[in-house]
Protein backbone atom coordinates (compact mmCIF):
# COMPACT_ATOMS: atom_id res chain seq x y z
CA UNK A 1 0.00 0.00 0.00
CA UNK A 2 2.84 2.39 0.74
CA UNK A 3 3.90 2.03 -2.86
CA UNK A 4 0.52 3.27 -4.05
CA UNK A 5 0.60 6.09 -1.55
CA UNK A 6 3.95 7.17 -2.84
CA UNK A 7 2.70 6.89 -6.41
CA UNK A 8 -0.33 9.06 -5.59
CA UNK A 9 1.95 11.67 -4.05
CA UNK A 10 4.32 11.62 -7.01
CA UNK A 11 1.41 11.92 -9.47
CA UNK A 12 -0.08 14.82 -7.51
CA UNK A 13 3.31 16.56 -7.49
CA UNK A 14 3.74 15.91 -11.21
CA UNK A 15 0.34 17.35 -12.07
CA UNK A 16 1.04 20.46 -9.99
CA UNK A 17 4.44 20.68 -11.70
CA UNK A 18 2.79 20.45 -15.12
CA UNK A 19 0.36 23.21 -14.20
CA UNK A 20 3.13 25.50 -12.93
CA UNK A 21 5.33 24.86 -15.94
CA UNK A 22 2.40 25.58 -18.27
CA UNK A 23 1.90 28.91 -16.46
CA UNK A 24 5.61 29.70 -16.82
CA UNK A 25 5.53 28.76 -20.50
CA UNK A 26 2.47 30.90 -21.19
CA UNK A 27 4.06 33.92 -19.52
CA UNK A 28 7.28 33.72 -21.58
CA UNK A 29 7.22 36.12 -24.52
CA UNK A 30 7.88 39.69 -25.62
CA UNK A 31 4.46 41.05 -24.76
CA UNK A 32 4.43 41.41 -21.03
CA UNK A 33 2.24 38.91 -19.21
CA UNK A 34 2.80 38.08 -15.59
CA UNK A 35 3.15 34.55 -14.23
CA UNK A 36 0.19 35.24 -11.91
CA UNK A 37 -2.10 36.23 -14.75
CA UNK A 38 -1.06 33.13 -16.64
CA UNK A 39 -1.57 30.88 -13.61
CA UNK A 40 -4.99 32.40 -12.94
CA UNK A 41 -6.11 32.15 -16.54
CA UNK A 42 -5.10 28.47 -16.72
CA UNK A 43 -7.46 27.79 -13.81
CA UNK A 44 -10.26 29.45 -15.75
CA UNK A 45 -10.32 32.68 -13.72
CA UNK A 46 -11.09 35.98 -15.42
CA UNK A 47 -8.15 38.11 -16.59
CA UNK A 48 -7.90 41.25 -18.69
CA UNK A 49 -8.91 40.88 -22.36
CA UNK A 50 -5.36 41.61 -23.54
CA UNK A 51 -3.92 38.94 -21.26
CA UNK A 52 -6.61 36.51 -22.35
CA UNK A 53 -5.75 37.11 -26.02
CA UNK A 54 -2.02 36.53 -25.45
CA UNK A 55 -2.69 33.42 -23.39
CA UNK A 56 -4.98 32.03 -26.02
CA UNK A 57 -2.27 32.51 -28.66
CA UNK A 58 0.45 30.82 -26.61
CA UNK A 59 -1.70 28.09 -25.15
CA UNK A 60 -1.87 26.08 -28.39
CA UNK A 61 1.87 25.81 -28.39
CA UNK A 62 1.97 24.75 -24.74
CA UNK A 63 -0.76 22.20 -25.40
CA UNK A 64 1.21 20.84 -28.35
CA UNK A 65 4.30 20.53 -26.13
CA UNK A 66 2.21 18.59 -23.61
CA UNK A 67 0.85 16.17 -26.22
CA UNK A 68 4.26 15.55 -27.77
CA UNK A 69 6.09 15.32 -24.42
CA UNK A 70 3.56 12.90 -22.94
CA UNK A 71 3.65 10.75 -26.07
CA UNK A 72 7.44 10.56 -26.09
CA UNK A 73 7.66 9.82 -22.36
CA UNK A 74 5.20 6.94 -22.56
CA UNK A 75 6.61 5.57 -25.83
CA UNK A 76 10.12 5.62 -24.34
CA UNK A 77 8.94 3.51 -21.38
CA UNK A 78 7.25 1.09 -23.77
CA UNK A 79 10.27 0.66 -26.04
CA UNK A 80 12.75 0.22 -23.21
CA UNK A 81 10.50 -2.52 -21.84
CA UNK A 82 9.76 -4.06 -25.24
CA UNK A 83 13.42 -4.25 -26.22
CA UNK A 84 14.52 -4.87 -22.62
CA UNK A 85 17.14 -2.25 -23.21
CA UNK A 86 17.57 0.90 -21.11
CA UNK A 87 19.23 2.69 -24.04
CA UNK A 88 16.20 2.36 -26.29
CA UNK A 89 14.18 5.44 -27.20
CA UNK A 90 10.95 5.92 -29.17
CA UNK A 91 12.84 6.59 -32.40
CA UNK A 92 15.01 3.50 -32.41
CA UNK A 93 12.56 1.36 -34.38
CA UNK A 94 12.60 3.48 -37.51
CA UNK A 95 9.62 5.72 -36.70
CA UNK A 96 11.62 8.95 -36.76
CA UNK A 97 13.57 7.98 -39.88
CA UNK A 98 10.40 7.17 -41.77
CA UNK A 99 8.65 10.31 -40.54
CA UNK A 100 11.62 12.47 -41.46
CA UNK A 101 11.81 10.93 -44.91
CA UNK A 102 8.09 11.59 -45.42
CA UNK A 103 8.59 15.21 -44.36
CA UNK A 104 11.72 15.63 -46.52
CA UNK A 105 9.97 14.24 -49.60
CA UNK A 106 7.04 16.57 -48.99
CA UNK A 107 9.27 19.62 -48.55
CA UNK A 108 11.27 18.72 -51.67
CA UNK A 109 8.09 18.37 -53.72
CA UNK A 110 6.80 21.76 -52.59
CA UNK A 111 10.04 23.36 -53.80
CA UNK A 112 10.14 21.75 -57.21
CA UNK A 113 7.38 23.72 -58.80
CA UNK A 114 4.52 21.66 -57.43
CA UNK A 115 2.90 24.46 -55.49
CA UNK A 116 -0.24 22.40 -55.07
CA UNK A 117 1.53 20.39 -52.41
CA UNK A 118 2.41 23.44 -50.35
CA UNK A 119 -1.23 24.33 -49.86
CA UNK A 120 -2.37 20.79 -49.19
CA UNK A 121 -4.13 20.10 -45.95
CA UNK A 122 -6.70 17.70 -44.68
CA UNK A 123 -8.66 17.34 -41.41
CA UNK A 124 -6.98 20.47 -40.08
CA UNK A 125 -3.45 19.05 -40.44
CA UNK A 126 -0.88 20.44 -42.85
CA UNK A 127 0.49 18.39 -45.72
CA UNK A 128 3.84 18.27 -43.94
CA UNK A 129 2.31 16.73 -40.81
CA UNK A 130 0.37 14.19 -42.83
CA UNK A 131 3.41 13.25 -44.93
CA UNK A 132 5.53 12.75 -41.80
CA UNK A 133 2.82 10.64 -40.16
CA UNK A 134 2.47 8.48 -43.26
CA UNK A 135 6.25 8.02 -43.40
CA UNK A 136 6.35 7.01 -39.72
CA UNK A 137 3.63 4.41 -40.14
CA UNK A 138 5.17 3.01 -43.29
CA UNK A 139 8.58 2.64 -41.64
CA UNK A 140 7.00 0.99 -38.58
CA UNK A 141 5.16 -1.47 -40.80
CA UNK A 142 8.39 -2.35 -42.60
CA UNK A 143 10.19 -2.85 -39.27
CA UNK A 144 7.36 -4.99 -37.90
CA UNK A 145 7.29 -7.27 -40.94
CA UNK A 146 11.06 -7.55 -41.31
CA UNK A 147 11.56 -7.96 -37.55
CA UNK A 148 9.38 -11.07 -37.30
CA UNK A 149 10.48 -14.61 -37.76
CA UNK A 150 8.04 -17.48 -37.75
CA UNK A 151 5.27 -15.18 -36.55
CA UNK A 152 7.23 -14.02 -33.49
CA UNK A 153 8.63 -10.57 -32.83
CA UNK A 154 12.26 -11.02 -31.88
CA UNK A 155 13.48 -7.98 -29.92
CA UNK A 156 17.07 -8.24 -31.15
CA UNK A 157 16.06 -8.55 -34.81
CA UNK A 158 13.47 -5.80 -34.39
CA UNK A 159 16.09 -3.47 -32.94
CA UNK A 160 18.59 -4.08 -35.74
CA UNK A 161 15.96 -3.71 -38.46
CA UNK A 162 14.82 -0.45 -36.85
CA UNK A 163 18.35 0.92 -36.79
CA UNK A 164 18.76 -0.08 -40.46
CA UNK A 165 15.49 1.59 -41.49
CA UNK A 166 16.65 4.78 -39.76
CA UNK A 167 19.98 4.57 -41.58
CA UNK A 168 18.35 4.00 -44.97
CA UNK A 169 15.95 6.91 -44.36
CA UNK A 170 18.90 9.02 -43.29
CA UNK A 171 20.69 8.32 -46.58
CA UNK A 172 17.60 9.26 -48.58
CA UNK A 173 17.16 12.47 -46.54
CA UNK A 174 20.79 13.43 -47.12
CA UNK A 175 20.30 12.93 -50.84
CA UNK A 176 17.17 15.10 -50.84
CA UNK A 177 18.82 17.79 -48.73
CA UNK A 178 21.78 17.83 -51.10
CA UNK A 179 19.76 17.91 -54.29
CA UNK A 180 17.04 20.38 -53.34
CA UNK A 181 17.48 24.16 -53.31
CA UNK A 182 19.10 25.91 -50.36
CA UNK A 183 15.91 27.34 -48.86
CA UNK A 184 14.17 23.95 -48.82
CA UNK A 185 17.20 22.13 -47.54
CA UNK A 186 17.29 24.60 -44.65
CA UNK A 187 13.61 23.85 -43.97
CA UNK A 188 14.37 20.13 -43.91
CA UNK A 189 17.27 20.62 -41.49
CA UNK A 190 15.17 22.79 -39.15
CA UNK A 191 12.32 20.27 -39.25
CA UNK A 192 14.78 17.51 -38.33
CA UNK A 193 15.76 19.38 -35.17
CA UNK A 194 12.24 19.14 -33.82
CA UNK A 195 10.21 22.27 -33.49
CA UNK A 196 7.02 23.28 -31.72
CA UNK A 197 6.99 26.75 -33.26
CA UNK A 198 5.46 26.28 -36.65
CA UNK A 199 1.93 25.47 -35.58
CA UNK A 200 0.68 23.77 -38.67
CA UNK A 201 -2.62 22.50 -37.43
CA UNK A 202 -5.98 23.89 -36.40
CA UNK A 203 -7.11 23.91 -32.78
CA UNK A 204 -9.65 21.23 -33.55
CA UNK A 205 -6.94 19.06 -35.05
CA UNK A 206 -4.74 19.66 -32.00
CA UNK A 207 -7.57 18.63 -29.69
CA UNK A 208 -8.18 15.52 -31.78
CA UNK A 209 -4.47 14.67 -31.70
CA UNK A 210 -4.47 15.10 -27.92
CA UNK A 211 -7.42 12.75 -27.49
CA UNK A 212 -5.82 10.14 -29.75
CA UNK A 213 -2.48 10.42 -27.92
CA UNK A 214 -4.16 9.96 -24.53
CA UNK A 215 -6.02 6.96 -25.91
CA UNK A 216 -2.78 5.31 -27.12
CA UNK A 217 -0.97 6.10 -23.86
CA UNK A 218 -3.82 4.53 -21.87
CA UNK A 219 -3.57 1.53 -24.18
CA UNK A 220 0.10 1.19 -23.30
CA UNK A 221 -0.79 1.58 -19.64
CA UNK A 222 -3.03 -1.49 -19.82
CA UNK A 223 -0.09 -3.72 -20.82
CA UNK A 224 2.10 -2.30 -18.02
CA UNK A 225 1.60 -5.28 -15.73
CA UNK A 226 2.55 -7.68 -18.52
CA UNK A 227 5.64 -5.65 -19.39
CA UNK A 228 6.71 -5.95 -15.74
CA UNK A 229 6.68 -9.73 -16.02
CA UNK A 230 8.47 -9.64 -19.36
CA UNK A 231 11.45 -7.97 -17.74
CA UNK A 232 12.03 -11.36 -16.06
CA UNK A 233 12.41 -12.91 -19.51
CA UNK A 234 9.96 -14.27 -22.08
CA UNK A 235 9.80 -17.73 -20.63
CA UNK A 236 9.21 -16.58 -17.05
CA UNK A 237 6.46 -14.24 -18.28
CA UNK A 238 4.82 -17.02 -20.27
CA UNK A 239 4.94 -19.30 -17.21
CA UNK A 240 3.09 -16.64 -15.25
CA UNK A 241 0.31 -16.59 -17.82
CA UNK A 242 1.40 -13.72 -20.10
CA UNK A 243 0.82 -13.96 -23.84
CA UNK A 244 4.28 -12.65 -24.68
CA UNK A 245 3.82 -12.34 -28.45
CA UNK A 246 0.58 -10.44 -28.19
CA UNK A 247 1.92 -8.11 -25.48
CA UNK A 248 4.91 -7.33 -27.67
CA UNK A 249 2.74 -6.68 -30.72
CA UNK A 250 0.35 -4.41 -28.79
CA UNK A 251 3.15 -2.39 -27.22
CA UNK A 252 4.99 -2.09 -30.55
CA UNK A 253 1.92 -0.93 -32.47
CA UNK A 254 0.73 1.53 -29.82
CA UNK A 255 4.16 3.04 -29.27
CA UNK A 256 4.74 3.32 -33.04
CA UNK A 257 1.41 5.14 -33.42
CA UNK A 258 1.97 7.53 -30.53
CA UNK A 259 5.56 8.23 -31.60
CA UNK A 260 4.51 8.70 -35.23
CA UNK A 261 1.92 11.19 -34.06
CA UNK A 262 4.46 13.22 -32.10
CA UNK A 263 7.01 13.15 -34.95
CA UNK A 264 4.31 14.31 -37.37
CA UNK A 265 3.27 17.17 -35.10
CA UNK A 266 6.67 18.48 -34.03
CA UNK A 267 9.43 16.66 -35.88
CA UNK A 268 11.84 14.24 -34.20
CA UNK A 269 12.45 16.08 -30.92
CA UNK A 270 15.33 14.19 -29.42
CA UNK A 271 16.24 13.04 -25.95
CA UNK A 272 12.80 13.32 -24.25
CA UNK A 273 11.87 9.72 -24.95
CA UNK A 274 15.22 8.44 -23.71
CA UNK A 275 15.71 10.41 -20.54
CA UNK A 276 12.16 10.93 -19.24
CA UNK A 277 11.61 7.20 -18.53
CA UNK A 278 14.89 7.04 -16.60
CA UNK A 279 14.22 10.14 -14.51
CA UNK A 280 10.67 8.94 -13.79
CA UNK A 281 11.95 5.50 -12.78
CA UNK A 282 14.18 7.07 -10.15
CA UNK A 283 11.11 8.55 -8.46
CA UNK A 284 8.34 5.96 -8.94
CA UNK A 285 10.35 2.75 -9.35
CA UNK A 286 10.32 0.22 -12.15
CA UNK A 287 6.65 -0.86 -12.03
CA UNK A 288 5.30 -0.10 -15.51
CA UNK A 289 1.75 0.26 -14.23
CA UNK A 290 2.93 3.37 -12.39
CA UNK A 291 5.64 4.35 -14.83
CA UNK A 292 3.39 4.95 -17.85
CA UNK A 293 1.16 7.66 -16.34
CA UNK A 294 4.04 9.25 -14.43
CA UNK A 295 6.35 9.34 -17.47
CA UNK A 296 3.56 10.80 -19.62
CA UNK A 297 2.91 13.68 -17.20
CA UNK A 298 6.60 14.25 -16.56
CA UNK A 299 7.36 14.12 -20.31
CA UNK A 300 4.71 16.79 -20.89
CA UNK A 301 6.22 18.99 -18.15
CA UNK A 302 9.74 18.48 -19.45
CA UNK A 303 8.89 19.52 -23.00
CA UNK A 304 6.75 22.48 -21.90
CA UNK A 305 9.69 23.79 -19.88
CA UNK A 306 12.24 23.06 -22.60
CA UNK A 307 10.14 24.97 -25.12
CA UNK A 308 9.69 27.86 -22.70
CA UNK A 309 13.47 27.93 -22.27
CA UNK A 310 13.94 27.86 -26.05
CA UNK A 311 11.66 30.85 -26.45
CA UNK A 312 13.25 32.67 -23.51
CA UNK A 313 16.71 32.08 -24.99
CA UNK A 314 15.55 33.53 -28.27
CA UNK A 315 14.22 36.61 -26.47
CA UNK A 316 17.57 37.14 -24.77
CA UNK A 317 19.68 36.71 -27.87
CA UNK A 318 17.44 38.46 -30.38
CA UNK A 319 17.24 42.16 -30.92
CA UNK A 320 14.85 43.52 -28.27
CA UNK A 321 13.70 46.18 -30.74
CA UNK A 322 12.45 43.55 -33.15
CA UNK A 323 8.87 42.45 -32.66
CA UNK A 324 8.04 38.96 -31.46
CA UNK A 325 6.29 37.91 -34.61
CA UNK A 326 9.03 36.66 -36.90
CA UNK A 327 7.87 33.26 -37.98
CA UNK A 328 10.56 30.71 -38.56
CA UNK A 329 13.02 32.61 -36.39
CA UNK A 330 12.67 30.69 -33.17
CA UNK A 331 15.11 28.37 -31.51
CA UNK A 332 13.97 24.79 -32.27
CA UNK A 333 13.12 23.06 -28.99
CA UNK A 334 15.08 19.99 -30.11
CA UNK A 335 18.26 21.95 -29.46
CA UNK A 336 17.20 22.62 -25.88
CA UNK A 337 15.95 19.16 -24.83
CA UNK A 338 19.39 17.59 -24.86
CA UNK A 339 21.11 20.77 -23.72
CA UNK A 340 18.95 20.90 -20.57
CA UNK A 341 18.22 17.22 -20.14
CA UNK A 342 21.76 15.95 -20.59
CA UNK A 343 23.40 17.75 -17.66
CA UNK A 344 20.35 17.12 -15.46
CA UNK A 345 20.51 13.41 -16.21
CA UNK A 346 24.23 13.22 -15.48
CA UNK A 347 23.63 14.98 -12.17
CA UNK A 348 20.86 12.51 -11.37
CA UNK A 349 23.09 9.56 -12.19
CA UNK A 350 25.63 10.85 -9.74
CA UNK A 351 23.27 11.67 -6.89
CA UNK A 352 21.09 8.57 -7.04
CA UNK A 353 22.23 5.09 -7.72
CA UNK A 354 21.23 4.22 -11.25
CA UNK A 355 20.66 0.51 -10.95
CA UNK A 356 20.29 -0.28 -14.62
CA UNK A 357 23.58 1.12 -15.84
CA UNK A 358 25.83 -1.12 -13.81
Amino acid sequence: MTKHMRFALVMAALVVGLYLSAAVAVSVGTSGLGFRDAAKALLGRAVSPTAAAIISLRLSRVALAMVVGASLGAAGVALQALLRNPLADPYILGVSGGGALGAAIYLTLTSSGMAAFAAFERWGFSGLTLAAFAGSLLASAVVLFAGRKGGHILPGTLLLVGVMVNAISGAAIMALTYLTDVAQSHNIVVWLMGNLGTLSLTRGALAAAAVVAVFFICGLWTVGGRLNLMSLGDEAAAHLGVNVGRTRLVSFVLSALVTGLSVALAGPIGFVGLVVPHITRVFVGADHRLLFPAAAVFGATFLVLADAAARAAFLVFSNPAAPEARPGMELPVGILTAAIGGPFFIWLLRTRRARYFE
Binding site: M1, H4, Q80, A81, R84, N85, P86, T222, G224, G225, N228, L229, S231, L232, G233, E235, A236, A238, H239, L240, G241, V242, N243, R281, G285, A286, D287, R289, R355, Y356, E358
Partner: protein, 260 residues
Protein backbone atom coordinates in the same frame (compact mmCIF):
# COMPACT_ATOMS: atom_id res chain seq x y z
CA UNK B 1 -6.47 -39.25 -10.10
CA UNK B 2 -3.66 -39.33 -7.57
CA UNK B 3 -1.20 -38.22 -10.23
CA UNK B 4 -0.09 -34.62 -10.18
CA UNK B 5 1.55 -34.90 -13.58
CA UNK B 6 1.07 -37.59 -16.18
CA UNK B 7 2.96 -37.45 -19.44
CA UNK B 8 1.99 -39.98 -22.09
CA UNK B 9 4.55 -40.69 -24.80
CA UNK B 10 5.29 -37.01 -25.35
CA UNK B 11 7.36 -36.08 -28.38
CA UNK B 12 8.96 -32.75 -29.15
CA UNK B 13 11.47 -31.87 -31.88
CA UNK B 14 13.28 -28.63 -32.63
CA UNK B 15 13.24 -28.18 -36.42
CA UNK B 16 13.18 -31.90 -37.02
CA UNK B 17 15.72 -32.78 -34.35
CA UNK B 18 13.99 -34.81 -31.65
CA UNK B 19 14.67 -33.53 -28.12
CA UNK B 20 12.06 -35.56 -26.30
CA UNK B 21 11.18 -38.79 -28.09
CA UNK B 22 8.28 -40.53 -26.40
CA UNK B 23 8.66 -39.96 -22.66
CA UNK B 24 6.01 -41.22 -20.26
CA UNK B 25 6.09 -40.00 -16.71
CA UNK B 26 3.85 -40.26 -13.69
CA UNK B 27 4.50 -37.94 -10.78
CA UNK B 28 2.31 -38.62 -7.72
CA UNK B 29 0.83 -35.74 -5.77
CA UNK B 30 3.29 -34.54 -3.18
CA UNK B 31 6.15 -36.41 -4.88
CA UNK B 32 9.67 -35.15 -5.53
CA UNK B 33 11.07 -36.32 -8.84
CA UNK B 34 14.49 -35.36 -10.14
CA UNK B 35 15.22 -35.45 -13.84
CA UNK B 36 18.85 -36.32 -14.45
CA UNK B 37 20.80 -37.12 -17.58
CA UNK B 38 23.60 -35.88 -19.80
CA UNK B 39 23.59 -32.54 -21.65
CA UNK B 40 21.09 -32.61 -24.48
CA UNK B 41 19.19 -35.56 -23.04
CA UNK B 42 15.94 -33.56 -23.03
CA UNK B 43 15.60 -32.47 -19.39
CA UNK B 44 14.89 -28.82 -20.11
CA UNK B 45 12.58 -29.64 -23.03
CA UNK B 46 10.65 -32.05 -20.82
CA UNK B 47 10.29 -29.37 -18.12
CA UNK B 48 8.97 -26.98 -20.79
CA UNK B 49 6.50 -29.60 -21.98
CA UNK B 50 5.28 -30.25 -18.44
CA UNK B 51 4.92 -26.51 -17.77
CA UNK B 52 2.91 -25.96 -20.93
CA UNK B 53 5.51 -23.60 -22.43
CA UNK B 54 5.81 -26.11 -25.28
CA UNK B 55 2.87 -28.11 -26.60
CA UNK B 56 3.76 -31.76 -27.21
CA UNK B 57 3.83 -32.60 -30.92
CA UNK B 58 2.67 -36.10 -30.05
CA UNK B 59 1.30 -37.58 -26.87
CA UNK B 60 -0.22 -35.54 -24.07
CA UNK B 61 0.47 -34.04 -20.66
CA UNK B 62 -2.11 -34.10 -17.90
CA UNK B 63 -1.86 -31.84 -14.88
CA UNK B 64 -4.05 -32.86 -11.94
CA UNK B 65 -6.06 -35.02 -14.31
CA UNK B 66 -6.62 -32.32 -16.94
CA UNK B 67 -5.17 -32.27 -20.44
CA UNK B 68 -2.87 -29.24 -20.66
CA UNK B 69 -3.90 -28.72 -24.29
CA UNK B 70 -7.28 -27.60 -22.94
CA UNK B 71 -5.98 -25.29 -20.22
CA UNK B 72 -5.47 -21.55 -20.67
CA UNK B 73 -2.15 -19.88 -19.87
CA UNK B 74 -3.73 -18.38 -16.79
CA UNK B 75 -5.03 -21.72 -15.53
CA UNK B 76 -1.64 -23.30 -16.14
CA UNK B 77 0.06 -20.49 -14.23
CA UNK B 78 -2.25 -21.06 -11.26
CA UNK B 79 -1.41 -24.78 -11.24
CA UNK B 80 2.26 -24.97 -12.21
CA UNK B 81 5.07 -22.66 -11.13
CA UNK B 82 8.51 -22.75 -12.77
CA UNK B 83 11.88 -21.84 -11.28
CA UNK B 84 14.56 -21.40 -13.96
CA UNK B 85 18.30 -21.87 -13.70
CA UNK B 86 18.91 -18.16 -13.42
CA UNK B 87 16.85 -15.00 -13.66
CA UNK B 88 18.15 -11.69 -14.93
CA UNK B 89 15.88 -8.74 -14.33
CA UNK B 90 16.20 -5.78 -16.69
CA UNK B 91 14.80 -2.98 -14.54
CA UNK B 92 15.33 -2.08 -10.89
CA UNK B 93 12.49 -4.03 -9.26
CA UNK B 94 12.52 -4.67 -5.53
CA UNK B 95 12.35 -8.18 -4.10
CA UNK B 96 8.78 -7.63 -2.96
CA UNK B 97 7.75 -6.47 -6.44
CA UNK B 98 9.29 -9.59 -7.96
CA UNK B 99 7.49 -11.87 -5.50
CA UNK B 100 4.22 -10.02 -6.13
CA UNK B 101 4.61 -10.74 -9.84
CA UNK B 102 3.80 -14.33 -8.90
CA UNK B 103 0.26 -13.14 -8.18
CA UNK B 104 -0.30 -12.12 -11.81
CA UNK B 105 -2.47 -15.14 -12.74
CA UNK B 106 -4.77 -14.28 -9.81
CA UNK B 107 -5.23 -10.56 -10.50
CA UNK B 108 -8.56 -9.17 -11.59
CA UNK B 109 -9.14 -7.10 -14.72
CA UNK B 110 -7.99 -3.97 -12.86
CA UNK B 111 -4.48 -5.43 -12.71
CA UNK B 112 -3.32 -4.26 -9.29
CA UNK B 113 -2.60 -6.47 -6.30
CA UNK B 114 -5.08 -6.49 -3.45
CA UNK B 115 -4.54 -7.22 0.21
CA UNK B 116 -4.73 -10.98 -0.14
CA UNK B 117 -2.12 -10.85 -2.90
CA UNK B 118 0.21 -8.89 -0.64
CA UNK B 119 -0.49 -11.39 2.16
CA UNK B 120 0.30 -14.33 -0.13
CA UNK B 121 3.56 -12.70 -1.19
CA UNK B 122 4.52 -11.98 2.43
CA UNK B 123 3.81 -15.59 3.39
CA UNK B 124 5.93 -16.84 0.48
CA UNK B 125 8.75 -14.54 1.57
CA UNK B 126 8.47 -15.76 5.15
CA UNK B 127 8.70 -19.40 4.05
CA UNK B 128 11.76 -18.72 1.92
CA UNK B 129 13.37 -16.47 4.50
CA UNK B 130 13.51 -13.52 2.12
CA UNK B 131 11.42 -11.03 4.13
CA UNK B 132 14.58 -9.37 5.39
CA UNK B 133 15.43 -8.02 1.96
CA UNK B 134 11.91 -7.26 0.74
CA UNK B 135 12.75 -3.71 -0.23
CA UNK B 136 16.15 -4.38 -1.74
CA UNK B 137 16.81 -4.57 -5.47
CA UNK B 138 17.18 -8.08 -6.90
CA UNK B 139 20.31 -6.97 -8.72
CA UNK B 140 22.00 -6.48 -5.33
CA UNK B 141 21.40 -10.02 -4.08
CA UNK B 142 23.77 -12.97 -4.22
CA UNK B 143 22.94 -15.92 -6.46
CA UNK B 144 21.56 -17.97 -3.56
CA UNK B 145 19.41 -15.14 -2.24
CA UNK B 146 18.11 -14.42 -5.70
CA UNK B 147 17.15 -18.04 -6.24
CA UNK B 148 15.23 -18.00 -2.94
CA UNK B 149 13.40 -14.89 -4.15
CA UNK B 150 12.45 -16.67 -7.37
CA UNK B 151 11.22 -19.64 -5.34
CA UNK B 152 9.20 -17.20 -3.23
CA UNK B 153 7.69 -15.82 -6.41
CA UNK B 154 6.82 -19.36 -7.50
CA UNK B 155 5.20 -20.02 -4.09
CA UNK B 156 3.21 -16.78 -4.27
CA UNK B 157 1.75 -18.14 -7.49
CA UNK B 158 -0.18 -20.57 -5.26
CA UNK B 159 0.49 -23.48 -7.61
CA UNK B 160 0.33 -27.08 -6.40
CA UNK B 161 3.20 -28.09 -8.67
CA UNK B 162 6.68 -26.60 -8.84
CA UNK B 163 9.02 -27.34 -11.73
CA UNK B 164 12.67 -26.39 -11.32
CA UNK B 165 15.23 -26.36 -14.12
CA UNK B 166 18.68 -26.82 -12.60
CA UNK B 167 17.93 -24.36 -9.82
CA UNK B 168 21.30 -24.85 -8.15
CA UNK B 169 23.51 -24.75 -11.25
CA UNK B 170 25.23 -21.47 -10.36
CA UNK B 171 25.41 -21.88 -6.59
CA UNK B 172 28.18 -22.94 -4.25
CA UNK B 173 27.85 -26.08 -2.10
CA UNK B 174 26.25 -24.35 0.86
CA UNK B 175 23.67 -22.54 -1.23
CA UNK B 176 23.00 -25.64 -3.31
CA UNK B 177 22.06 -27.51 -0.15
CA UNK B 178 20.13 -24.53 1.19
CA UNK B 179 17.98 -24.20 -1.93
CA UNK B 180 17.46 -27.95 -2.30
CA UNK B 181 16.52 -28.30 1.39
CA UNK B 182 14.09 -25.39 1.07
CA UNK B 183 12.35 -27.05 -1.86
CA UNK B 184 12.26 -30.40 -0.05
CA UNK B 185 10.77 -28.79 3.10
CA UNK B 186 8.10 -27.08 1.02
CA UNK B 187 7.31 -30.41 -0.60
CA UNK B 188 7.05 -32.24 2.71
CA UNK B 189 5.33 -29.60 4.79
CA UNK B 190 3.05 -28.00 2.24
CA UNK B 191 2.34 -30.96 -0.01
CA UNK B 192 3.95 -29.36 -3.03
CA UNK B 193 4.66 -31.65 -5.99
CA UNK B 194 8.21 -31.07 -7.23
CA UNK B 195 9.94 -31.96 -10.47
CA UNK B 196 13.52 -30.73 -10.64
CA UNK B 197 16.00 -31.14 -13.47
CA UNK B 198 19.51 -31.40 -12.12
CA UNK B 199 23.06 -32.08 -13.18
CA UNK B 200 24.06 -32.71 -9.60
CA UNK B 201 23.52 -36.43 -9.08
CA UNK B 202 24.40 -36.34 -5.39
CA UNK B 203 22.02 -33.52 -4.63
CA UNK B 204 19.28 -35.23 -6.64
CA UNK B 205 19.87 -38.48 -4.76
CA UNK B 206 19.75 -36.72 -1.40
CA UNK B 207 16.47 -34.88 -1.93
CA UNK B 208 14.30 -36.68 -4.49
CA UNK B 209 12.10 -39.73 -3.87
CA UNK B 210 12.40 -40.79 -7.47
CA UNK B 211 15.05 -40.24 -10.12
CA UNK B 212 14.24 -40.27 -13.82
CA UNK B 213 17.37 -40.67 -15.91
CA UNK B 214 16.99 -39.40 -19.46
CA UNK B 215 19.20 -40.20 -22.41
CA UNK B 216 18.63 -39.09 -26.02
CA UNK B 217 15.15 -37.86 -25.18
CA UNK B 218 13.94 -41.13 -23.67
CA UNK B 219 13.76 -42.57 -20.16
CA UNK B 220 16.92 -44.62 -19.63
CA UNK B 221 16.25 -45.61 -16.03
CA UNK B 222 13.72 -44.73 -13.36
CA UNK B 223 13.29 -45.50 -9.68
CA UNK B 224 14.58 -44.86 -6.17
CA UNK B 225 17.97 -43.13 -6.10
CA UNK B 226 19.79 -46.29 -5.02
CA UNK B 227 18.26 -48.19 -7.94
CA UNK B 228 19.17 -45.61 -10.60
CA UNK B 229 22.56 -44.47 -9.36
CA UNK B 230 24.54 -47.61 -10.07
CA UNK B 231 27.89 -47.76 -11.79
CA UNK B 232 26.53 -49.74 -14.76
CA UNK B 233 23.48 -47.55 -15.35
CA UNK B 234 25.43 -44.29 -15.10
CA UNK B 235 28.26 -45.53 -17.31
CA UNK B 236 25.64 -46.45 -19.91
CA UNK B 237 23.86 -43.12 -19.70
CA UNK B 238 26.82 -40.75 -19.55
CA UNK B 239 29.55 -42.73 -21.39
CA UNK B 240 31.73 -42.05 -18.38
CA UNK B 241 33.01 -44.53 -15.83
CA UNK B 242 31.95 -43.58 -12.32
CA UNK B 243 32.42 -44.82 -8.82
CA UNK B 244 29.25 -45.08 -6.74
CA UNK B 245 29.80 -45.09 -3.01
CA UNK B 246 27.52 -45.26 -0.03
CA UNK B 247 27.37 -42.60 2.63
CA UNK B 248 25.02 -43.54 5.48
CA UNK B 249 22.70 -45.35 3.09
CA UNK B 250 22.75 -42.60 0.51
CA UNK B 251 24.50 -43.19 -2.80
CA UNK B 252 27.11 -40.74 -3.98
CA UNK B 253 28.78 -40.54 -7.37
CA UNK B 254 32.37 -39.67 -8.22
CA UNK B 255 33.73 -39.81 -11.77
CA UNK B 256 36.69 -42.08 -12.41
CA UNK B 257 39.45 -39.96 -13.89
CA UNK B 258 41.58 -41.56 -16.56
CA UNK B 259 45.19 -41.80 -15.42
CA UNK B 260 44.28 -40.87 -11.88
Amino acid sequence: MSSAIRAEKVVFSYEGKPAVAGVSLDVPRGGFVSLIGPNGSGKTTLIRLLSGYFRPQEGKVEILGRDTARMSRREMARTVAVVPQETTVTFPFTVEEIVLMGRFPHLGPYGFEGENDVAAAREAMRLTDTLAFASRYVQDLSGGERQRVIIARALAQGAAIMLLDEPTAFLDIRHQVEVAALVRDLQRERGLTVVAASHDLNLAAAFADTLVLLKDGAVFAEGRPSAVLTEDVLAGAYDQEVYVGDCHGQPFVVPRFRGA
